[in-house]
Amino acid sequence: MVQKRKIAYINLTTKKLSQKAMPKKIRTMYIGGRGIDMYMLYNHLKPKIDPLSPQNVLLVGAGLLGGIPCLGSGRCDIAAKSPLTGAVGDSNIGGFFAPELRFTGFDHLAITGKAEKPVYLLVKNDEIEIKEASHLWGKDTFETQTIIRKDQDDENIKSLVIGVAGENLVKFANILTGMKNSAGRTGMGCVMGSKNLKAIAARGTTPLEFAHPDRLLEYCRQMNDMITSTRWSKAQSRWGTMIIYSNTNTTGLIRTRNFQLNRLEEGQDLEPENIDRYSIGTSGCYGCAVHCRHRYVLREGPHAPLYGEGPEYTSLGAFGTMIDCRKMETILVANHLVNKYGVDTLETGGLIAWAMELYEKGILNDKMTDGLKLEWGNEEALYEMITNIAHRKGFGNTLADGFKKAIAKIGNGSEYYAIQVKGMSNLHSDERPTPSFALGIATSTRGADHLRSRPAIDMYGLPEDLLEEVYGGPVASEYNSYYGKPRMVWWQERLYAVTDSIGLCKFQTVFCSVHAPQWKEFSKLIQLATGVEISETQLMEIGERIYTIERLFNLREGFSRKDDNLPERYFKEPTPIGLPVAKNKKIDREKFSKMLDEYYKLHGWGNDGIPTAGTLKKLGLDKEPSNLI
């Protein structure tokens, strides 16, 4: 049961391995996955260390409910200090790795040091081995997984791997498992590369025990029914996250040509139904009844034959709207390339779109781009840029360092055009018409990001009494409004922190559907699976604790209120096109600042964004670091 789960400490420099049972106190305070990762991140790191030094710790944490038969229970949380932003590095990955790790008996791995030569970790039931990986170095993400399975003669091995981008210390290199599941954001693959760690392979046959197996099984079935009966999930099962595109593009909520337009005109080829031309079916993560991605095959053209999975809504923006490429095929090829090299799709697209705008403005020229014509819609330039970023070739080397360094290097007013927060690129969503979304990307502890807090149900214009019931206070129904939006963000931040900690999929909680499982259901699942009673209110407090310890980490690294901001263009340039709800909208600086005040207050943080002594005490954070694990 829950008390039996273990954590392993691996030092790649000294090759020392040790393990420990997870203390119950940590469970009840931080649950698992992201929560425990964040506790350890704050506890294990000395302030201001170089993220690429051996001191950085790579944390791999399976969710507390990993392995149960519902709601996409295959999620794994990966954390370290981010080499991209210098803030909290944290990324959540689906697929099949987390349950396999749990079948070994371990829930958490804490990896420090740096191996002398390339290595990979093999976690097999109770045993952990550091294995030689010279033969894997230079291999792409797919080959790496295949070779490990062949070497070990075991098709059931699941691995987290890096591609060449991670080896080359691209600041936003990701970690991949399977054909597309990635811990995409904040450069966790770069941290792996800096440790000479090519892969973490897991294989286990240890039974996962539950407190009430029969009741859990029945309740899981109800949970699957609950989620699959929502309209959002039905659409997602059919078209994946791409379904969001139809609505947002028509309305005018999508960044196009970096940030010049908010809708892709003649973007019909990117409509989700066009995936049917290439799809051979859908695919799901472990324990998922939603199955939100397509398995696609390119049978013709210069890039055929090619098999890939996805693409996500994110890639439609990263390789479509943001760079003004209007072909589904371009998206499919580019999506495959980033997965193969192991770079974050979103960061890559965001940087290339930015470079294209700089090129158009003359801030970049042919000499600086090695002759590459970074023109809107130039798909060949896109493929070459992706490849060059992953290999740190030519101008790709500049972009491979991410926004912060690239801005410093290019200078010349380039910063104004960068759509980033805390050094991390924003999604291709345009938040100028949606203050709640704008606040969320500004306050996210890991830099511009939609998965920390996005209250996507804000888009539905739900009745205000329903919103009040959900969010526990008054919230305006219109998404253009600023009223009550800090409350939405605050609520979602806590919910997502808990979702990432129990290890379920965010699409299967209140993300795009108000009728999805949330606090009450999570509390019941935890009770049936582990026997531990954690009430809804306690879960909310745990969410608060996790978010606050992330805040403490960032404050310690020198971040402050001034970093909870938006790119200047959000305040200056109104959206040029779109439906009336989206057109001619920009963020009001004063109202934004007021939202921030209100948001801090809800969290129990001062006006400077620093948690008050009372808040820390209430959350049991007043004695951190406490070094329990």
């Binding site: 149960i68 038969p69 079948f103 797919f142 098709e155 399977g178 009844a289 939603v290 199955h291 098999y307």
Partner: protein, 162 residues
């Protein structure tokens, strides 16, 4: 007509809900290793094939078992193991052409699908209906129609181009 556990790999999304629910139902723990149904994958090509005992009409497992430990359940027609009689020789496993039989590493005895007394749990969990518990004749009618549809689509296309 007797119902059968029908597998349609084309619909399978590879989620392993079947394995997971099967093992919790039968073993009370989540141990896919002991699931009676397993999903075989070719991940790099996107092919997922759930494999489970076919409850054959002329079961090889039953005929090779020296202990007569495999018997047909009169109710569900499933071939079930009599754990008391099974000596764990694994002959059945070696002869089954579908990999429908597994071994429990702890007890060293055979495990196989027994159709959960006529209400297979995996079917209840398989959202895309890659697994169905249906009347064999109905299934065949459906398959025939699906195949005929493909044929008629081709014909229609041919006629249109003439």
């Amino acid at each position: 007509m007797q119902k059968m556990l029908a597998v349609d790999p084309e619909k399978c999304t590879g989620c392993r809900l079947c394995e997971t629910s099967c093992s919790i139902y039968n073993e009370k723990t989540c141990t896919p290793e002991k699931a009676r149904i397993r999903v075989t994958k070719w991940e790099n090509e996107g092919i997922y094939i759930p494999m489970v005992c076919q409850q054959c009409d002329i079961p090889i497992c039953e005929s090779v078992c020296p202990m007569h430990a495999i018997k047909r359940d009169s109710n569900t027609q499933a071939l079930v193991i009599d754990k008391e009689l099974c000596v764990g020789c694994r002959l059945c496993m070696q002869f089954c052409p579908f990999g429908g039989i597994g071994v429990d590493d702890e007890t060293k005895k055979i495990i196989k699908c027994d159709l959960c007394n006529g209400e297979p749990i995996c079917v209840k969990f398989c959202q895309p209906m890659a697994l169905q518990y249906v009347d064999a004749n109905t299934l065949n009618t459906r398959k025939r129609r699906a195949a005929a549809k493909r044929f008629s689509d081709i014909l229609k296309k041919m006629l249109a181009t003439i």
